[in-house]
Amino acid sequence: MRPILLLATLLATIFCHAGERTDYNVANISPAILKQANAVIRNRDIKVKVMSPTEIYTYEKVAVTVMDDKGADAGRIEEYYDKLVTIEEIKATLYDRAGKEIKRAKRRDMQDIAVYGEGFVVDTRYKSFDFHYANYPYTVEYEIERRVSSFFFILDWELQPDYNCAVEHVTLEMNYPAGQDIKYKLYHIAEQPQLKTVGEQTVFSITVANLPATKRDAFAVRETYPLPAVVFSTNKLEMGGVAGTMQNWNGFGKFYYDLNKERDVLPEERKATVHQLTDTCRSAREKVDVLYRYLQKYTRYVSIQLGIGGWQTLDAAFVSKTGYGDCKALSNYMMALLKEAGIPAYQALVYAGRSNAVQMDPDLASNVFNHVILCVPIQKDTVWLECTSGELPAGYLSDFTHDRHVLLITPSGGTVVRTPHYSFADNKVVRKVQLKMKESGELTGGAAIMQCGSFGYKADIILRTGTSRDKEKLLNGIFNLPAYKVEKHEYNIQSVRKLPTVNETLHINGTSVVTNSGKRIFFDPVITDINIATLIPDENRVKPFSIREGYEIVDTTVITLEGKYEAEHLPKTITVKHPFGEYEYTPSFENGNTLTVIRRYRQIDGVYQPELYSQFVKFANNAGRVTEKVVLVKKES
């Protein structure tokens, strides 16, 4: 038999498609799950057959009803594949609202497109097809058979694909040999699976029904799987000829270590460079700093993910020769440089990202990573290194990777640790402004500004590497004045308590917004911005909310006026204190000519109960918004 026929026969034997649901009449969808739903999974039948750790077949038959144009994406087919996960068969059928078949599409009707923009070179592709049908609602049913070369790629199954997509019925069945020990964990699923033994096979099956559509909350607490999912782990895993286990994080780490070991050999020339740079260093920390700067100067980030290259790093000799690599390769290279200098370091797998980061589950090892950083444990200190960045100082991690669990990869296995957390005390801006102002509004004076943590990092990048236009924009954004010119600007950049810290002094001439009525002058007392984004209220908040970044901004502004005045009206002092934030605003007027405004805004990171959300919104939207002007009456001279 020809190989392709043999495969087709095998697949037909593996997957029996009896007893499938095919009634797609839209009228039969339960109204209870339709609320907020732009699409509905009518049925999803998932069958997984594990022949061995490196030979797995999956079959899926999915029927999705697209309710309106907002759900149109759910009706478009986009199925990914690469060298490790191949598509053996794919076909689709279109049904109208009554469930009547309208059209079919075969594999040859579908476009085959390369993934673009996910890295410099990737070999991932996808099958794409759109029925171009817009008589809502309609149903698209498609079947897809895959061959998967490692259990690693079929560990997690998200049963509800998106927030605005309801699910009528989904079944997941996994059939595996007795010797393959598979654990599972359910996320947001009330139903329990069934496990039964059939000959020498074990069959895991679970059916979930009637999942309503839901919505994504702002400031959601990070979860591993925020929507219903089933996740597996196993004692037998293999990829790229390397076998391992993934029953716990230690096993996962060992597997990753084995997949990537012995790829840290430096060429002799590079070894010599390491010694040249570090033999005269006085401490391990100094060696780390020197070698990190060397890495930043002589390498750059280029992502090449081919075949197993998504998980197995390019070796250190490659990076040494070319001067580039992805996060794995650059971290591995840095690790090799440190090793040559006698400093042990470990790669750490992380899910990197700012607002949408996924949280590792300490109880179940699963493939939730998309990035690699480096951990250098020095006595009484741990230095974290982001090896893809040319700007970050050694030891500081930005919001891309800070404050989350990561998996440290060591020769004996994986260990779950946490990256540094930066609180409001670490992310700070302190501004001290002293100005002299005339009745016309003309002002002159200076400011001393300290920024550290995330603020320091952003300012550091612009001041060190930005163009003159970038710097101009930075300086023009400090004060909220109609016009001003920075006459002098000096700064220094340091690392204080491992935080990027920028200290600036500047001298300005400008104009404030002053209304002079003859008898009185009115002006806005606040000339610096806090820049808090407008938040949307959510009166029906049910889930807790999470503030990930704490920070504090402290402004002290002293304006000395020409002439003598009496304060007819000063904005009132404001003091607001909540568990999630504090705001103080204290204006005062003394000596007939000196206005002092002290303002402090503090956002406190943490997880808070949903009942506090509307207060948080009000707090953030109102804090820093000063509408009351200062009203001064001129004294007769």
């Binding site: 002589y298 750059r300 040319g390 163009t467 003859g518 009203v631």
Partner: protein, 665 residues
């Protein structure tokens, strides 16, 4: 060597390491390798030392192919230019045509005073089939860092002959020398359009041009005895041009040349206005002849009969019919891509499936309007953010979107049915970019400029109750049509979010009042302005003796959007604006206005006007405030930028009126 060559012919890529010093201009490298700043532009992250592009239409293996050659040498001065060493090139490839050849790559670094050359491994060149006939080849030059010089060259062979790549002399880095040449068989006339600051000076030979000190030079060879026509353009010392804020696409202003092959019928020497008109007619005719573009509009299209008849059954007025048909298409045909010019499906398929991209949807609209006896034609234009289309020569690449024009009663209505939120007779903001072409037998042009995109909004506050203890205000906001479009979309997509945003905005404006009775009118009719209304009620902490009323509740101008900066590009705006704020209140009987600020008017010539008028009648104790910011100009030259900045500065300093109300003595 022979064996290597024969193997090379079988490979997609041929990679040659520069075998000796002659292939690399070592003097050039030596001269610049140690430089760490470009004195003429200290902001520059890199300098293009030399680049050359060439196009040759050559006969290869019995077919005409386009051979595109590129050579570029770059000096890296700062870290953010290191990624310029990641090279990629797209090309079309169908069947056996389309391949890359003769890739040469080198990085040069200074190492202990010696120039070290680093080659590229053959295996580090990647070629990807993107699908739909497109390929991409790419490579990353090795060991590029601050201070490196790198160079590369390659040749791309494709079958496409009409659309030639544009060549930009100017980009985000300063360029010491850049050249572009074309070699085209004399049977294929071509036209070109250049855009440059110095005028190109003509030379008779390359040698002369090389020795001359001209900043811009050109030479051409077009002799009847020659097989090919040849042209070259060169520029020296080209300054960088970087995208600036408040501007369109930097490519509109960058120096460049565009070349296009014409059909053998066109006589390119006839570039007077009659000749130009003839060329545009040719261009239009070509589009009209395409089956999935203009040709299908000539058919009877009987599949539309029933639908058009039912839409227009109750009315005979052409304008009313046009509106009904337009609204039918907007609401019933899903548009998968809101900007397009290249329809893939005919209008019958689009009509049956109720799905199409913007070109397909608007062509269907044209067909339906014609079916109803209304004169309608497709219009092609270039959308905001792309290089603009211009009249100098019909260039296919200039246009990227298709809309419709309907002629009714002597008035032209431009229509875009790609979104149900688009109003009749108003295009989405990104279509107002100037030059457009009507695709009909007359083949005329149209100007759809941002000045035709007028945005008028009014924010009104009527104080209905005002005592020493409390105040109640009725707020009404008439949004302009562009904002209405945006808000309607948001209302549909996330009404909760919209309500939240409105609420927050009003709360931020009013400082402590309670907001109630929020209503939104006209949400279902995209042809009208959206109107928001609400009531704000405030109770004062204690009865006041002195009341400070901020005369600028809305803050028409709250910051200066045009901070001081050196400007090379003009300021371009998407629309004309007319924003008004009106407040009226009856003062309590025992209160009077102690200070009445004077009215303010600030002008920037006749292009922008700001007025702030305060009227108070002592007899009736009635106060009214009107503020208006009206901008009729949408284009400001670089030299006007400073004046623009000063205008807003003046408005901000003048606009801070606080009215003082006091108890009557």
């Amino acid at each position: 060597m022979k064996r290597f060559l024969s193997l090379a012919l079988l490979c997609v890529f041929v990679f040659t390491v520069p075998s000796d010093a002659q292939e690399v201009d070592n003097d050039f490298v030596k001269k610049y390798i140690a430089e760490d700043v470009y004195l003429s532009d200290t902001d520059a992250s890199a300098v293009v030392l030399y680049e050359k592009g060439s196009i040759e239409i050559a006969e290869i293996a019995n077919r005409y192919m386009q051979v595109y050659k590129v050579r570029r040498m770059l000096k890296v001065l700062k870290a953010d230019a290191v990624d310029e060493a990641n090279i990629s090139e797209f090309y079309r490839s169908t069947a056996m045509t389309g391949y890359v050849s003769n890739v040469k790559v080198a990085t040069y670094n200074l190492n202990n005073g010696q120039i070290v050359q680093i080659p590229l491994e053959k295996s580090a060149i990647y070629n990807t089939d993107l699908g739909n006939g497109y390929h991409e080849f790419k490579f990353a030059l090795p060991q590029v860092k601050v201070g490196s010089i790198f160079e590369y060259s390659y040749e791309v062979y494709t079958a496409a002959v009409m659309l030639l790549p544009s060549w930009y002399f100017q980009n985000e880095y300063p360029t010491l020398r850049t050249e572009y040449e074309v070699t085209i068989p004399r049977g294929y006339p071509f036209a070109y359009v250049t855009q440059s600051t110095p005028t190109f000076k003509h030379f008779n030979s390359k040698k002369e041009a090389d020795y001359a000190s001209s900043e811009a030079y050109t030479l051409s060879i077009d002799h009847p005895s020659e097989r090919n026509a040849y042209m070259l353009w060169g520029r020296r010392n080209v300054p960088a041009m970087r995208q600036e804020p408040h501007a369109g696409n930097v490519a509109d202003y960058a120096e460049k040349v565009e070349v296009q092959i014409q059909s053998p019928d066109a006589n390119v020497s006839m570039l007077d206005s009659a000749g130009l008109k003839k060329l545009w007619k040719e261009y239009t005719r070509e589009l009209l002849s395409r089956k999935k573009f203009g040709k299908q509009l000539e058919y009877d299209n009987n599949f539309l009969d029933q639908t058009v008849s039912s839409i227009t059954a109750q009315q005979t007025d052409k304008l009313a019919n046009a509106k009904s048909i337009y609204r039918y298409v907007c609401n019933n045909i899903r548009c998968s891509d809101s900007i397009s010019i290249n329809p893939q499906r005919d209008i019958e398929k689009v009509f049956t499936s109720k799905d199409g991209d913007a070109a397909e949807v608007n062509l269907l609209l044209v067909a339906m309007l014609r079916k109803a006896g209304i004169r309608a034609s497709p219009v092609i234009l270039s959308t905001w953010g792309r290089p603009k289309a211009y009249h100098a020569y019909p260039m296919y690449n200039n246009f990227n979107h298709t809309v419709c024009v309907a002629n009714i009663g002597g008035t032209k209505y431009f229509l875009d049915a790609s979104s149900k939120y688009n109003a009749f007779g108003r295009l989405p903001y990104y279509c107002y970019t100037g030059y457009a072409r009507v695709i009909d037998e007359d083949g005329d042009y149209a100007i759809i400029s941002s000045k035709q995109n007028r945005e008028k909004s009014v924010f009104a506050i009527k104080v209905t109750e005002f005592t020493r203890n409390s105040m109640v205000m009725q707020v009404t906001q008439h949004l302009g049509m562009n904002q209405s479009r945006f808000m309607r979309k948001l209302l549909d997509e996330d009404s909760v979010k919209l309500a939240g945003l409105l609420n927050s905005r009003i709360e931020m404006m009013n400082d402590g009042g309670e907001v109630s009775k929020i209503t939104i009118e006209n949400s279902a009719d995209p042809d009208t302005n959206l109107i928001f209304r609400c009531t704000i009620s405030k109770k004062f902490e204690k009865p006041f003796d002195v009341f400070y009323l901020n005369a600028d509740q809305l803050r028409l101008v709250s910051t200066n959007p045009y901070k001081p900066m050196k400007r090379l590009m003009p300021v371009e705006m998407l629309l004309q604006e007319d924003e008004s704020y009106v407040m009226s209140l009856q003062l309590p009987e025992n209160m009077e206005l102690e200070e009445l600020p004077k009215s303010v008017k600030v002008n920037f010539e006749d292009k922008i006007t700001f007025r702030h008028l305060i009227n108070y009648s002592k007899e009736t104790n009635f106060l009214s405030i009107t503020a208006q910011l009206k901008r009729t100009e949408t284009f400001f030259t670089p030299s006007e930028y400073e004046l623009l900045s000063q205008f807003y500065e003046k408005v901000l300093t003048e606009l801070n009126h606080v009215l003082v109300l006091k108890s009557k003595s």
